[in-house]
């Protein structure tokens, strides 16, 4: 079979990434499970009951990490989409595509756990305040990106259009982050601030940070696996993929 011409970024990098990611993914799963067990143990069995919210506050251990991931993953996605566009780095565009579904899932989880938390503490599932509305817009940006890159058949064009959408949409992330400062929202202020001492018990904070690390490890594992799938889908005709697939399929 014909191998495509060897170009940096188009062929060599994805194959190398494929191997590296394949080696890393199991370790990210180990980290995800270990950090989740530790985080939930501290969160449910060591962290005390909250004085004002009772046990309902324990939603924080997934709500805040999911909300952080939703914003972080969007910025990472926009960054790699932009790199892929500016430098024609195909792997970067593939990584951007691989991040979108995971980011959308974390955004949904932030909204879902937030709604469930809002009911007992605010008395309502949903309000159209700045924080909640901008987070909902983030979900639509993810879904719009996914729909756009899948709607265009020409892969290059799709990546470019996606990058444009992702980069323009990234202005929404600081709006989400600072919404609780800029507007008078029902949502409480930042849980963690770089400048002030944490306003929560240290065991609560530990549990929340462990769950955040667990979600990070999860995101790496899932995004790397999805990137590997995309690499194989796109480079199916490349020599190394043929060898790889052949090796896998041998009885």
């Amino acid at each position: 079979m014909n191998s495509p011409p060897l170009r940096l970024y188009t062929f060599a990098a994805p194959s190398r990434f494929y191997q590296l990611a394949g080696w890393l993914v199991p370790w990210f799963w180990v980290a995800t499970v270990a950090l989740t067990v530790a985080g939930l143990y501290i969160g449910f069995f060591i962290a005390p009951t909250d004085a004002t919210q009772g046990e309902a506050y324990r939603i924080i251990f997934i709500h805040v990490p999911a909300a952080w991931m939703s914003m972080l993953l969007y910025l990472v996605m926009a960054f790699w989409a932009g790199i892929g566009w500016a430098f024609k780095a195909r792997l970067a565009s593939m990584v951007a595509r691989a991040i979108a579904p995971t980011g959308a899932m974390f955004t949904f989880l932030a909204l879902w756990t937030g709604a469930i938390w809002g009911k007992p503490t605010w008395g309502t599932w949903w309000v159209w305040d700045a924080r909640l509305t901008s987070e909902l817009i983030l979900l639509f940006l993810y879904l719009g990106y996914i729909a756009l890159v899948n709607a265009i058949d020409d892969v290059r064009r799709a990546d470019q259009a996606g990058a444009l959408l992702a980069l323009v949409g990234s202005v929404n992330v600081p709006i989400i982050y600072f919404s609780v400062k800029w507007w008078n929202t029902l949502h409480q202020g930042a849980t963690i601030s770089m400048t002030a001492a944490p306003k929560m018990a240290s065991t609560m904070l530990t549990a929340m940070l462990l769950m955040t690390l667990a979600f990070w490890a999860y995101a790496f594992a899932v995004v790397f696996t999805r990137t590997r799938a995309i690499v194989v889908e796109r480079e199916a005709h490349a020599g190394w993929v043929a060898e790889l697939a052949g090796g896998r399929m041998r009885p």
Binding site: I46, A56, W112, A229
Partner: protein, 59 residues
């Protein structure tokens, strides 16, 4: 230890439905997504094998 009994743990001080409603959906999605992704990864290799006959890779 915060909980005197298993039922106290599940009741969550009266917020059981809210707390577990959050955690169960999170657990479901964070199990479903890896499963779908691994399926896609396997399928991509299968399709690549089919695209490249002559590699004794017929499925």
């Amino acid at each position: 230890m915060n909980w005197g009994s298993a039922s106290a743990f599940f009741e969550m001080g009266g917020y059981g439905l809210y707390v577990w409603g959050s955690y169960v959906v999170t657990a479901l999605l964070m199990t479903l997504e890896p499963w779908l992704v691994h399926r896609r990864q396997r399928r991509s290799l299968r399709d690549a094998a089919r695209l490249n006959p002559g590699n004794e890779a017929e499925s």
